[in-house]
């Protein structure tokens, strides 16, 4: 064992010295390699944190949202449905929700307007999200005028802005009182946008949803777990698409690595020839070349991953943001929470180190089996 370790140490020693001797060639390879790892790792880290964020935000959402459908389109739900559905075992709370979208021609963006249940607001007061406050230049005490559905302008005073930490969903949010909401959108009393139900036991959610569709045939229950699953699938699908697009770059990298490894200069050939002449075996040369690849891979992997980490978590993934997050006018600025996952690292390994290694084996072998006399002659 001791002997084995010592041998590997000498090989590494020699390899490092040899890498430093061919500095320019190896620096180029390291640079390209790092760039490949950086791109792939950025995509993975960013989508992962998006998924985390969505999960975290939805954890407070109601387990079931009930929408009424009329000719396949969503309709307002009469408040009487709350009584009509009857007492369903397992439902701990149910209430109607009022929310909608408002198109603002000034910034050409859609706002989400919502009536909060836990925050009493006066009729002329609103609370706005950070993104909206930024784009309209609103602060505490400013007025925002919205056009009601009959065309008359309604002025609201900004009572507060929402904290920036939940900006991924609250960027375009306006909170207002129920009476003003009904007045603004002309929604008759006794109607809600949809109904929300809380179910304490996650195993009962499906049964409750089944009972709801039986009791109220013109409604559609939407489960939180389904939304979560959809988000998870959507984000990993987007990530997959970006990776497929990057596959071209990866292939180019593999070809580049192959080319670098097989295009041995005459000097390097002579070096290997001399090594073999002084008693190195083919296995030793392969071992040396293995360490060369391992050192470059490790260096590029660490460097690329570190850069990606900085890019995603400190620079908010500026390069890939539009593709991975989706697109909107009032786009939330959002700071992902740093997180490293073993699965990602293993996946990344298979996307970068594995192809590199496979691409270089044959050239390495070819170099290692050259006859000393053939190259030194």
């Amino acid at each position: 064992m001791q002997h084995y370790l010592a041998r590997q140490r000498y090989l590494i020693d020699y390899t490092v010295a040899s890498l430093l001797r061919h500095r320019s060639k190896n620096l180029g390879l390291l640079l390209v390699y790092t760039l490949v790892v950086f791109m792939l790792a950025s995509v993975m880290l960013f989508t992962h944190s998006l998924r985390q964020e969505a999960e975290q935000l939805l954890s407070a959402a109601p387990e079931i949202v009930l929408q009424r459908l009329l000719a396949g389109r969503q309709e307002l739900v009469p408040a009487s449905y709350l009584e009509q559905m009857g007492r369903i075992r397992g439902v701990s709370e149910r209430h109607g929700r009022l929310w909608g979208y408002y198109y603002d021609p000034v910034v050409r963006a859609n706002y989400t307007v919502l009536v909060p249940r836990d925050r009493p607001l006066a009729a002329d007061e609103i609370v706005v999200g950070a993104g909206l406050a930024r784009s309209r230049g609103l602060g505490h005490g400013d007025f925002l005028s919205l056009r009601a559905s009959d065309g008359r302008p309604v002025a609201f005073r900004v009572a507060d802005t929402l904290a920036a930490d939940s900006e991924l969903i609250s960027a375009d949010l306006i909170l207002m009182a129920e009476a003003s909401f009904r007045d603004l959108f002309a929604i008759p009393a006794g109607y809600y946008t949809d109904l929300a139900l809380s179910v304490r036991n996650p195993r009962e959610v499906r049964t409750v949803a089944e009972k709801l569709t039986l009791a109220l045939p013109d409604t559609r229950p939407i489960l939180r777990s389904e939304i979560l699953r959809t988000y998870a699938t959507l984000f990993s699908w987007r990530q997959g698409i970006v990776l497929v697009l990057l596959a071209g770059a990866l292939l180019a990298f593999v070809i580049f690595a192959w080319d670098k490894a097989s295009g041995l200069s005459a000097e390097e050939r002579r070096e290997i020839g001399i090594l073999k002449a002084v008693g190195w075996e083919t296995a030793d040369v392969i071992g040396m070349k293995f360490w060369e690849g391992a050192l470059i891979s490790l260096g590029a992997f660490l460097l690329g991953y570190l850069l990606a980490y900085l890019h995603v978590f400190y620079l908010d993934a500026g390069l890939f943001e539009p593709v991975l997050k989706g697109w909107a006018v009032l786009y939330p600025s959002f700071h992902p929470v740093p997180f490293i996952d073993g699965l990602q690292v293993a996946t990344l390994f298979f996307f970068t180190v594995f192809p590199y290694t496979v691409a270089t084996i044959i050239p390495i072998w070819r170099a290692a089996t050259t006859d000393p006399d053939a190259v030194m002659r």
């Binding site: 995509v43 699908w237 997959g240 698409i241 497929v244 996946t347 298979f350 089996t369």
Partner: protein, 335 residues
């Protein structure tokens, strides 16, 4: 199919691995047919040179397969959020008929690859490559395994249908159910642990005998296989329950989750390692009398036996620690 990066990585890796295995198989055929160490012909020289390439290539492939096995289980685990009814890897493997075969093939490939690498290492130490034919015949047997694994994995991932409602560990690993998993869960914890300790004692004794008298390697390998099976049964029927601190949750995959400090990896890695080394000893032992290998074989067998026993010890320490630290008390029920 789900366009998930880990799935893409696994599919890509297994496609490349299959390609390399096919390449190696072509070479193996010509070695088996034309190898003649006493000849100085050009073909023989070329073959001798090429063995280095193939051996290096296969070493990479088998190491990649080991990482792929871990990644496969981990991916199955992480996909569980995207299938109705799946709470851990069990549910995802149940999504279609290819999940479990892929896992079994991957495990078989891991053991076969490990044994091949040990055989290759031994053979390279003899100046006249005495085992070269044996080695490549073994490889020819491994290649179909690798191809089957690749096909099965591809079918598993491409035929994944998110609409399927799958059944997870809670439904599969219950003593009342039907099938192998239910049978495993139904084994009484007392007999499962007794079998595990019995098999381990046999392994220890045969290992000691092997180190002392240099014979009985077949028994050692057989005891290792018995220990491996007994350990898997014991994990499902007793050890996992102590980790979950729940008297009815028999799942061999949930212990891999972060919520249980990834203790599953600490259990499975030493167990798989111990079994692989013991199998290697069983395969190497018959060749110990070849003159050019006598010394190397003795050293290798001794080393692998010791490693196997050490890893077995590590497995038992982790398992015992999990049981000892558990808040689940089953005295009076099981004991």
């Amino acid at each position: 199919m789900l366009l998930n990066p880990a799935i893409l990585a696994l599919l890509g890796a297994s496609a490349v691995a299959s390609l390399l295995l096919l390449l190696a198989a072509g070479f193996a055929l010509s070695v088996v047919r034309h190898w003649d160490i006493s000849s100085g012909s050009e073909r023989q020289l070329e073959l001798e040179r090429r063995t280095y390439l193939i051996a290096t290539l296969l070493a990479y492939v088998f190491v990649a397969q080991l990482v792929a096995l871990l990644l496969f289980v981990y991916t199955a685990e992480s996909l569980s959020g995207q299938f109705v009814g799946a709470m851990c890897a069990t549910g995802v493997l149940n999504v279609n008929g290819w999940g479990w075969p892929t896992l079994y093939l991957k495990i078989a490939l891991f053991f076969a690859g490990a044994v091949w690498l040990m055989l290759n290492r031994l053979d390279n130490q003899g100046y006249d490559y005495p085992l070269v034919r044996v080695k490549y015949l073994l490889l020819l047997a491994i290649v179909p395994l690798g191809l089957a694994e690749s096909v099965s994995q591809t079918l598993f991932f491409t035929q994944m249908n998110p609409d399927v409602i799958t059944s997870c560990c809670g439904a599969l690993f219950t003593p009342e159910g039907e099938g192998v998993a239910a049978e495993l869960a139904g084994v009484a914890p007392r007999s499962a642990l007794l079998a595990l300790y019995g098999a381990s004692t046999l392994l220890l004794l045969s290992g000691g005998w092997l180190l002392w008298r240099r014979s009985g390697a077949v028994w050692f390998a057989a005891a290792a296989l018995a220990t491996f099976s007994a350990a898997l049964v014991a994990i499902v029927s007793a050890i996992a329950l102590y980790i979950y601190e729940h008297p009815h949750h028999h799942c061999p995959f949930c212990i891999l989750k972060a919520g249980y400090d990834y203790v599953g990896y600490w259990l499975y890695l030493p167990l798989f390692g111990a079994t692989a080394f013991a199998l290697g000893v069983g395969v190497l032992h018959p060749w110990r009398h070849i003159p050019s290998l006598r010394q190397a074989a003795a050293a290798d067998i001794r080393r692998y036996t010791l490693l196997s026993l050490l890893l077995l010890l590590a497995f038992h320490l982790v398992a015992a620690r999990a049981i000892w630290n558990s808040h689940l008390t089953m005295s009076g029920v099981w004991w």
